[in-house]
């Protein structure tokens, strides 16, 4: 008896309220379509939204710092949107938010090249220009990709460093980020090709690729696993800042310190301790701030219509000078830098 009355009461009042809400929502839609697009034009030339892979990541902070500097140089209002955890589906609500706010330029580092596609498509239809940076989306979904460096150069410099350190012979392994990360996989592909084809590396053998998912614990354990299951491992390449720091921490506290070479892409501030204690001799990276800076200028050029992202287009990138768009709409920022005990104290990022 009591049960029955509870459910029917809830049912009736609930359904009334449900209808009311539906009406309210629909009314929202009808009432305000004309309000669209008027935006807050104000005095700024436009708006730019940066969507990093995830917030609260030190590398991302440096990139975004550059982005904000670039945005203010071109007179755009900028904002940073993004999820707290790096997953593809988590980026989508933020793309939609930027779309709704009528943002002129969306600058994105994709967690998954395809998953963000449909949302970016919607944003483009609403008039936004899409600039990918750091990690590319499927080329169908963006106007231009600002790449840190030539992908092949990044791959080769890491091979060069590891080869110098292990004396040109021995087993090596790669500790990557997520298995779906576009940039990581491209570098790994170039490394594999180079190992195959370059006679200098004939005696180097890539024995394993493992994925630490850009998670400190996981990268840490994967490093342990590598070292315990490959007794003859001479070196590890970790082309990700989280991975190389976690691997360095493990090696520095284990018996493998000094036995196994480690290199890859790292942030000087995170790696300083390990370079000084000898765990890591040398590693590489570009200046992440330049990436965000150039992305802002590329966005402006797209909005102004001076470029379309086609091969051969050139645009002005402020302090970085003029930049030319290459094949597949990829624009390259600069060469990678090597960091070692001699120069690491000159950098602060």
């Amino acid at each position: 008896m009591k049960l029955f009355s509870t459910s029917s009461r809830g049912g009736r009042i609930g359904s009334i309220a449900a209808i009311a809400t539906a009406v309210a929502l629909a009314a929202t839609g009808c009432a305000a379509t004309n309000g669209d697009g008027s935006g807050d034009g104000g005095d700024s030339a436009g708006t730019i939204a940066f969507l990093p892979k995830q917030l609260n990541n030190p590398y991302t902070d440096v990139v975004l710092g550059g982005g904000e500097e670039g945005a203010s140089a071109i007179g755009y209002d900028s904002e940073v949107l993004g999820p707290l955890e790096a997953s593809a589906s988590a980026q989508i609500p933020f793309i939609e938010q930027a779309t709704q706010q009528g943002t002129n330029v969306i600058v994105i580092a994709a967690n998954d090249p395809d998953a963000v596609g449909p949302a970016l498509q919607t944003a483009r239809e609403a008039g936004a220009k899409i600039v990918a940076f750091d990690s590319d989306t499927n080329p169908d979904y963006r106007d231009i990709f600002i790449s840190q460096v030539v992908a092949k150069d990044v791959a080769l410099i890491q091979l060069e460093i590891i080869s110098e350190q292990i004396g040109g012979a021995g087993e090596i392994a790669i500790l990557s980020a997520t298995a779906t990360a576009t940039n990581q996989n491209e570098w790994i592909k170039f490394m594999e090709e180079e190992l195959e084809s370059n006679p200098d590396y004939a005696e180097i053998k890539l024995v394993a690729k493992v994925y630490g998912d850009d998670d400190a614990d996981k990268s840490f354990q994967e490093t342990q696993g590598l070292l315990s299951s490959y007794p003859d491992l001479a070196g590890i390449i970790s082309p990700t800042t989280v991975g190389i720091a976690a691997a360095a921490k493990y090696i520095s506290t284990s018996n493998y310190k000094g036995q196994v070479a480690l290199t890859g892409l790292g942030l000087p501030n995170e790696m300083r301790e390990f370079v000084k204690d000898g765990t890591v001799q040398e590693f590489a990276l570009w200046d992440p701030a330049q990436l965000g800076y150039v992305a802002a200028f590329a966005g402006k050029a797209l909005v102004d219509g001076t470029i379309t992202g086609a091969e051969g287009d050139t645009f002005d990138a402020g302090d970085m000078g003029e930049i030319t768009v290459g094949e597949n709409g990829v624009a390259i920022v600069g060469p990678p830098t090597r960091f070692n005990a001699d120069n690491i104290d000159e950098y602060d990022f």
Binding site: L55, N56, N57, P58, T60, D61, L84, E85, V210, D215, A216, D217, F220, Q221, E222, Q224, G225, L226, L227, S228, S229, P231, A245, A246, A248, K249, T253, S254, N255, Y256, E270, R272, E273
Partner: protein, 341 residues
């Protein structure tokens, strides 16, 4: 209630029989089998460095599982432990940043008090609102994580920021065992002794098997449950401090998602999810088993994708064994009662 009345009877049964009917045996057996099989396939699995790594990897999980077992035995659960661990770990980094020369003992005390405070929030909400801990701690999981994220932002503390002696806790060994592992073992033994021989510890079992009966029996249920949550928080806080010593960096995401792993370890270790039975030693062994699987899979070069599926199967196996054991025990009780009549 029943646990309380049965407890004095335990010493009467032979120690030998008790040992082999203990719930920890199948878990410990599985752990030993895993280690032996892995060792046969890849002898390097037990090289000094690997053994040390296995112990280090299990350490933090063991403490978390012991802490969680305390709460689960009282028919509650604390899902917010991942966030508490993260807060304590980041707090450790912050304290070292402000007072680099702080004595190490003090940092552990601060971590435990901090964790205990957070645990007491859970405990007070659970005992005063009379709402299941599952819901409350799901809420505080979000809240604590949010607090940590806004506190930490993109700030991370690296091992280089901490005093060398602090990092060395997870490097230095005593007779081949890492210092932080010794800490975990001492904690497990202490809590196990408390649970089996101190009155208030046994009360937790009584509360878990039948809260109403426990109340009738005169046990201060609210107070005991609150203390279990505080103890869980304090131990988790301690684990957070150790985490900061063990890993390279602590930040906003530290410890996210470990809550289900911890609950899984406790369940695999033979603690009933609805309280009243199981031991902290079992939970600790469960934690060691789950963390060793990761290492074993890598060492035997089994596709790492199988790992999670295996963990799932282990959890299911553990609860099925529990069910079988309790059914058999119930039948035996019935038979005994029939005989007595």
């Amino acid at each position: 209630m029943s646990t309380v009345t049965h407890a004095p009877a335990v010493p009467r049964s032979s120690a030998f029989k008790r040992f082999f009917t203990a719930r920890e045996i199948p878990v410990a057996g599985a752990l030993i089998a895993l280690i032996v099989v892995t060792y046969i396939i890849n002898p390097r699995f037990l090289s000094p460095q690997s053994t040390k790594d296995l112990m280090l990897n299990a350490t933090i999980m063991v403490i978390l599982a012991v802490a969680q077992a305390l709460v689960i035995i009282t028919r509650n659960v604390d899902l917010s432990v991942g966030a508490i661990l993260g807060l304590a770990a980041f707090g450790t980094g912050t304290v070292f940043d402000m007072f680099p020369s702080i004595p190490l003992v003090l940092i552990f005390v601060i971590g435990m008090i901090f964790g205990g405070l957070l645990g007491s929030i859970n405990g007070m909400l659970v005992t005063s609102a009379k709402v299941p801990a599952l819901v409350i701690t799901l809420g505080t999981l979000y809240i604590f994580r949010g607090v940590l994220s806004s506190w930490a932002g993109s700030k991370q503390y690296f091992s280089g920021d901490n005093p060398k002696a602090f990092g060395n806790l997870s490097v230095d060994t005593l007779v081949g065992i890492p210092i932080i592992t010794i800490i975990a073992v001492v904690i497990t033994v202490a809590v196990a002794m408390f649970m089996s021989s101190v009155r208030s510890g046994r009360d937790l079992y009584a509360i878990g098997s039948d809260p109403d009966a426990a109340r009738l029996f005169g046990i201060p249920v609210g107070g005991r449950v609150l203390s279990a949550f505080i103890a869980c928080g304090a131990l988790t806080g301690l684990a957070g401090v150790l985490y900061a010593s063990r890993y390279n960096s602590v930040g906003a995401l530290t410890g996210s998602g470990i809550e289900l792993d911890v609950v899984a370890a406790v369940v695999v270790g033979g603690v009933a999810i609805f309280g009243g039975s199981g031991t902290v030693a079992g939970a600790a062994i469960g934690a060691v088993l789950l963390s060793t699987i990761t290492g074993a899979l890598t060492a035997t070069r089994v596709d790492k994708f199988w790992q999670q599926a295996i963990v799932g199967v282990l959890i299911l196996a553990a609860i099925i064994i529990d069910r079988v054991v309790s059914l058999r025990r119930a039948r035996k009780l019935r038979v005994n009662e029939a005989k007595n009549v």
